[in-house]
Symmetry: C2
Subunit: 192 residues, 2 copies
């Protein structure tokens, strides 16, 4: 990938994590990257393409920073715990100071049909499926009770994550609560 484009997407990712995907504007982004509006525009040829590029860049970075490292942990509960431990490298990190762009865009784009939503849809399903698979593996390893439903697990896992994201700015110590919630979720499914 061109160096300039990478720099643009990096800046855009930062911005989107803070202010949301449709608050992203080409003029503002051009100012932030010290480029001309048209020069930046030429890299994407439409705002929609820019938004899609940001989403895909975001997913790629997430994989690098959280998901791939987590799969280095041994299969089963340990890997799920690794995922939890690695998440701070994503949300609230230097590259993604605010929320996860994909999860938060899901809230603001769920009624706007079009290519951006299609991309979001695809990435979120992928996101979700990864966690389902992780739960399924844990089940196969015999570390989860046989009646564990991996999809239910994924739903509750992501929900807690969303709760953490949404309530981060509230004086409720959500980090502790999200950790406790996910711990309880694991224990509930773990073989005793």
């Amino acid at each position: 990938m061109h160096e300039t484009k990478e720099k643009i997407l990096q800046q855009a990712l930062q911005f989107v994590s803070l202010y949301g995907l449709d608050a992203l504007s080409i003029g503002k982004l051009a100012k932030d990257t010290k480029m001309s509006k048209s020069g930046l525009f030429a890299h994407f040829n439409s705002k929609e393409n820019l938004q899609i590029a940001v989403l895909e860049y975001s997913a790629q970075r997430f994989t690098e920073v959280v998901f791939r490292p987590a799969t280095k942990a041994p299969r089963g509960v340990a890997r799920i715990r690794a995922l939890v431990d690695l998440w701070p490298n994503w949300i609230g990190s230097k590259t993604v100071a605010g929320d996860c762009p994909i999860l938060s865009s899901l809230t603001e784009f769920d009624e706007k049909v079009g290519p951006v939503w299609d991309c979001l849809f695809r990435l979120t399903n992928q996101y979700h499926q990864s966690i389902v698979t992780m739960a399924q593996i844990t089940l196969d390893e015999g570390e989860f009770k046989p009646d564990t439903n991996p999809e239910q697990f994924a739903f509750e896992f992501i929900s807690l994550l969303l709760g953490y994201q949404a309530m981060r700015k509230l004086p409720l110590d959500p980090e502790k609560k999200w950790l406790k919630g996910v711990e309880s979720l694991i224990e509930r499914n773990e073989v005793s």
Copy 2:
């Protein structure tokens, strides 16, 4: 409240639930309500005031439609279940076709300091506190285990709600999962 203003806020609430609080524009809203931009504007004197008015109207409606009716149920677990049952009258209803404006705005406004955020902050704390209180009451009634943490309960409750909202457009049957999640949350705290 003036009839016109009520009509405007009703329309605005609908719009915000579908497209988010900062997608709300005065011109668009004027078109939807068949008013002139300036005529509508005069009711609020600034966009921020409009946004605040929508949030407060939203909270008021929520109280009418979900919270007040729920408090008619007997104290304890029954009341919490009533809250869950009444929620569809809010999210996805005729007046609020999309997401809960307060919960979803929380995601997109958490980095924008100012009067709108202050209002959002206040309302969300109120939202949260109501659920904490409900859990506390259930605890006092002896229907929850003594080691139940009402704040943890509220966090997980709201998280599941956010999960339901966010994943409504995904083919994951999130309604069933949210119900199951909240049922599991209740059972986990209930005295056996």
